[in-house]
Structures are given as C-alpha cells and as structure tokens.
C-alpha cells in the first residue's frame, strides 16, 4: 500500500511525458503511395520518399495570387525558423494539375528563391484527386472569366491547409494554411522532433 501512491505518481509522469511527445494521428498515409512529379519533372513517391523526415506540406494552385502565396510564405517562414533543417521537408502540393505542370511549378518556386529542401509537387489529375481525398483537401472551380486575349481562365475555391507528417508518413498536425501564426506550427514540430 505504501508503494501505491509513488507508483501512481510515476504512472502519471509517464502518461504526461508520452502525451507531450505523441500527438494524435489525424491521418495515416504510411500505407498509401502516390506517384507524383516535382518541379524538375523528377518522379517522387509520396509520402514514401520522405520517410525518415518530417514533412510540412501546404496545398496551393499557382493561379491564386492572394491566399496560396500566404500558404507558401508560411511554409517558408517555418523553414527559416528552423534554419533550413535537413530533417524537415517542405512541400507545396497543387490541386490544379491541369495548369500546374512541373515547368509552371519550377517558375513558381523561382519566385520565392527556395532551396532543395522545398519542393512543389504535381501529378496527373486522377492521382492528385486521390491524394487530395486522402488528406481531405477540397477544391472546386468557382468561376471562369474570358481574358482580353479570348482565353478562358478559371478560379478555384479550396481548402486552406498546411499539414505536418511525422517520420512515418502520418499526419500529426493540421492548420489553416494562410491564417495560422507560424510560431504555432514551429512549437508543434519542436514538441515532437527528435
């Protein structure tokens, strides 16, 4: 009986420590595999090729001039806060593969002066659709306009999202991509990073 309370205290401490380091698994992508292309046209298997790294991914389309650049800028700020870490991969994944080809994504990346640890991903429409479904990112064409050169351009309503994957390809944090203060994301990653 004398040992009961010290033992209870130890159990409580163990629970507290394990809670701090083990966030809730939101989505498990470790059993999924998506064949995509990066901005250089190189094949990437998502999330398998990033196993062993944390992944911070935002969802964008390059014809979005306001919200999506905010998402990208938030990713960049997180990267800078960690001083360009080797164990964290940053990704911008398009939900508009029809227009966001690797070449377009390469130009987009060039606008932000990003390093190799920051990739933009696209794929065929079916793969992107499956990938977006698996992470619950929605997008719809909201309206179209005919430009002065008679070409039609469309705009999209979309989820505003950044997510963090652990080293095993499991989604452990999600945020409003354009709205969340960067320190929230940084602190969450710091709490699990080993």
């Amino acid at each position: 009986m004398k040992l009961f309370f010290p033992a209870s205290f130890l159990i409580l401490c163990t629970v507290l420590i394990s809670c701090t380091n083990s966030p809730k698994i939101i989505d498990d992508l470790s059993d999924k595999s998506f064949e995509v292309l990066n901005q250089n046209g190189e094949s990437v298997t998502f999330p398998d090729d990033y196993e062993g790294k944390y992944v911070v991914a935002g969802f964008i389309y390059t014809n979005c001039p306001d919200i999506c650049p905010l998402v990208t800028q938030n990713l960049i700020k997180v990267q800078k806060e960690f001083n360009n870490p080797d164990d964290i991969q940053f990704l911008g994944i398009t939900f508009d593969p029809k227009r966001d080809t690797p070449e377009v994504l390469k130009n987009y990346k060039g606008l932000f002066n990003l390093d190799d640890n920051f990739d933009f991903l696209t794929a065929d429409s079916t793969t992107i659709s499956e990938l977006m479904d698996s992470v619950r990112v929605r997008s719809d064409v909201s309206f179209t306009q005919v430009r002065d050169d008679d070409k039609e351009v469309y705009f999209m309503n979309h989820s505003d999202k950044i997510m963090v994957l652990d080293k095993k390809g499991r989604v452990i944090f999600e945020y409003g991509g354009s709205m969340t203060p960067v320190n929230y994301i940084v602190e969450d990653i710091q709490s699990v990073r080993r």
């Binding site: 629970v15 306009q145 979309h158």
Partner: protein, 149 residues
C-alpha cells in the same frame, strides 16, 4: 477515495492529451499587411497587388475600374471564406469609399488581380496601377515588387 482521485486525474490528463494536436482557428489571424506592394509573378501567370488609398474628399467616392499596363487583364478581387469553409475569391466591380475613410487592399482581403502578366515581375521591379473613381477621377500607384512579404 484516493484511488478514485488518482484514477479521475489520470483520465482527465489522457482526455486533454488527445486534444493536443488541435488548434482553435479563432485564435489565428491573417497578417495585417497594409503597405503598398505587388507580388512577383511569371509572364503569362497571375500576380496580386496591395495598397492603401485614403479618400480625402468631402463626399463618398466609388472605385469603378482598375488597370495596369503590365497585365492583359486587371480586376479588383476579394478573398473570402465560402459557406462550406473553403477559401474563395470573387470580383468586386465597384467599391464605395466614404469621405475620410481608406480603401485598404491587403493579403487575405481585397487585392488587385493582375492576370496574364505581359512580363516577369521580379524583386525590385515596380507595377503601375491606375484606378478610376467617380469623384476623384484617375489615381495612379507605382507599387514595388516584393517577394518576402
């Protein structure tokens, strides 16, 4: 009794730990950027521009059009959240600016939509934007292109 206290305390901690990865979106806010600037963009792609215009007239004014020589098509758009929680964008054809009030174009809100850029917009370039108001007439802005906003 003490055993029960320990049990419920443990239960309380476990329940709260499960919530550790959730964030309250109401605590977040879009960066309140109100300076005059434009985003970099590639030829044929889009860019956005932001500025603050103060209506110093004694009467309300209405912004009725916007133009830029560096884009094939220029409009005022507004970012907003749709009823089902998606990030959306819509055109604003007219905007009323009351006397002594400011028209603020900022990230996550109203912005100039520069469509089908005629040339690349890079850091240290500038974008010319011409606004037409019903009362003030033509107002011109020259906005620096900045990448690290």
């Amino acid at each position: 009794m003490k055993k029960l206290v320990v049990f419920f305390l443990s239960l309380f901690i476990l329940i709260n730990c499960g919530k550790s990865s959730e964030k309250n979106s109401s605590e977040t806010s879009v960066d309140q950027e109100t300076q005059n600037w434009a985003r970099p963009g590639s030829q044929g792609q889009m860019s956005g521009a932001y500025f603050v215009y103060e209506n110093t007239l004694d009467v309300s004014d209405t912004l009725i059009s916007v133009d830029s020589p560096q884009a094939m098509m220029t409009q005022i758009h507004e970012s907003y959240t749709t009823e089902d929680g998606l990030a959306g964008m819509r055109e604003k054809k007219e905007i009323i600016v009351h006397s002594d009030e400011s028209l603020i174009l900022k990230q996550g809100g109203l912005h100039v939509m520069l469509m089908n850029l005629k040339e690349d917009l890079s850091e240290n370039d500038s974008v010319e934007v011409t606004l037409e108001f019903t009362e003030a007439g033509t107002v011109k802005f020259k906005l620096p292109v900045k990448s690290n906003k």
